[in-house]
């Protein structure tokens, strides 16, 4: 394993080194220590390597990730794995606001809680949260799945396009155009697979499914007075 001490090596150098690894690299396991809440750590990785980050990390950790597996042994700041394309980003602690924002693919696992707007504008990423999510999660979500083993804050799924939301605990309130939907065997199987893949304990039979009522897709003439 390659260990990089961020109190000695500048972050840009670390990111650059990880980004420039050749396709056939043998250096597949990395550990970053003394990270002290740095922003934009381990971003833009495109190779199937594993990066372990020891300690709490700042904003945009694992952003734009492709192929790599990133594990944060701590908490993380705003915008975890924003615009993730593929691969996996896992946080052992809590994540701050806008985790997985605009994510297009791959898997994000937050073992603790996530803050507000988790999965905002997600476009295909799967997000599994072991704890609860804050207000306005899955805001304007377009595709992918958000699995919440705990509770969801106010206005869940506001202005949802598509995307599937599964919540095991309580939902404080649903946002505009987000409705509860029937849990079909197809969705149950998908949820089971997601929980298993994320290694998160949850009882699929206790989850409720939420999705878009698809009423905001088009302008409705009955609403003309509102404008």
């Amino acid at each position: 394993m390659n260990v990089i001490d961020l109190s000695r090596t500048p972050l840009r150098e670390v990111n650059s080194r990880l980004q420039k690894l050749p396709n056939d690299t043998n250096e597949r396991l990395w550990k970053l220590i003394n990270v002290h809440g740095e922003h934009a750590c381990a971003v833009g990785l495109t190779k199937p390597i594993e990066v372990q980050i020891d300690g709490h990390i700042g904003y945009y950790c694992g952003g734009m990730n492709q192929e790599a597996t990133i594990v944060v042994n701590g908490q993380c700041g705003v915008g975890l794995a924003e615009n993730i394309m593929s691969g996996e980003v896992r946080v052992k602690g809590n994540a701050s606001a806008a985790a997985g924002a605009t994510g297009q693919g791959g898997l994000i696992v937050i073992e603790g809680d996530a803050g507000t707007r988790c999965g905002i504008s997600m476009k295909g990423v799967d997000i599994v949260v072991g704890g609860s999510v804050g207000a306005m999660s899955a805001f304007m979500a377009q595709a992918g799945s958000l699995v919440v083993c705990g509770d969801a804050g106010a206005n869940l799924g506001d202005s949802l396009y598509e995307a599937r939301i599964y919540v095991q605990g309580k939902v404080e309130s649903l946002g505009a155009d987000c409705v509860e939907k029937k849990m079909t065997p197809h969705h149950l199987a998908k949820l089971e697979r997601l929980l298993k893949r994320a290694g998160i304990n949850g009882d699929p039979s206790k989850f409720k499914r939420f999705g878009s009522a698809r009423k905001l897709y088009n302008f409705h003439v009955d609403n003309v007075d509102a404008y």
């Binding site: 809440g37 922003h39 908490q75 700041g77 701050s96 809680d113 507000t116 207000a135």
Partner: protein, 299 residues
């Protein structure tokens, strides 16, 4: 953009390190605010019957000793003054209102940065680390302290518009965000007898909370009322003589992180500022929820 930090010490054994820790926290917010910085530190209370004021004049050679002498003669009281950069720390054997009245009448060129029995306030231009060094933050002991770093985006870099705002004795407020109903609130507060030093929206918030507290509200009640009456974006951190508070608006888009253990409570705009606090690895760390009031008290 700006950065906020606050530290509230629960374990008296750590009081001697208050300034040193706040300095590290403040430096952590350099990128969020490289233009100017301000600090309010609660330490060294003055004796009963005395008051303590932090004063400012841009001239490094301002005759502070003469001011103290004149004030002493004018009010027939004992005074003491020490200069720190372009600030001066004045203590007098008189109530703060008497001292302020005298200063307004006789030294209109001096700005009062903060007053009370224990709070000291310093604001200056430059990188947070330079400001902390200039005012000797590292050596300051005490129970709690609040800091602010500013990146000016919409108005000039002046000490006048810098945080913390200090609307009442031993009370200070720092704000990250912007208020949209500050003009109406200012009008309303003026009717309630509040006076304003600047056109700044954050000063309106500070005076709003000062007004609520002066009407008998608890710190908690004042902040709860603010959630209804203040419209806009805010993460506030507030200090009173024995209290420390954090509150964010209902949308909570201005960042904030809280951390707490048995020894201290710390607040910062970003985790970077908390990363070097003692035993941070084992502290409880969380993001303050929207529209939720968090308060701590020394008693």
């Amino acid at each position: 953009m700006c950065g906020i930090v606050g530290l509230f010490v629960k374990n008296p054994a750590l009081q001697s390190k208050l300034g040193a820790h706040l300095e590290t926290m403040l430096i952590g917010m350099s990128e969020r605010g490289p233009d100017s910085a301000g600090i309010a530190v609660y330490h060294s209370p003055v004796a009963q019957g005395r008051s303590k004021l932090t004063l400012f004049n841009a001239d490094d050679a301002y005759p502070w000793r003469k001011l103290a002498g004149d004030l002493g003669a004018g009010l027939s009281v004992e005074t003491d003054v020490s200069q720190k950069g372009n600030h001066a720390l004045l203590t007098a054997e008189a109530s703060e209102s008497k001292v302020i009245e005298w200063l307004h009448a006789n030294r209109p060129d001096v700005r009062i940065m903060g007053y009370g029995k224990l709070m000291e306030v310093y604001k200056d231009m430059g990188l947070p680390g330079e400001v902390a060094k200039k005012y000797g933050l590292q050596k300051m002991s005490g129970t709690h302290a609040i800091g602010h770093t500013r990146m000016a985006t919409e108005s000039a870099v002046t000490t006048e518009h810098s945080h913390p705002f200090t609307p009442a004795p031993d009370m200070c407020l720092v704000h990250n965000g912007s208020l949209s109903n500050h003009n109406n609130l200012r009008k309303w507060l003026r009717k309630q007898g509040q006076t304003f030093d600047t056109d700044n929206d954050s000063e309106v918030a500070a005076r709003y909370f000062a007004y609520r507290l002066s009407e008998g509200a608890s710190l908690n009640e004042a902040l709860e009322a603010g959630l209804t009456d203040l419209d806009g974006f805010f993460t506030f951190t507030m200090g009173t003589k024995d209290g420390f508070a954090v509150v964010r608006d209902g949308i909570a888009c201005k960042p904030a992180v809280l951390a707490e253990n048995d020894d201290w409570v710390a607040m910062a705009s970003e985790f970077r500022s908390l990363a070097y606090l003692p035993n941070i690895e084992k502290a409880k760390i969380w993001e303050p929820a929207p529209a939720t009031v968090y308060t701590w008290s020394l008693h």
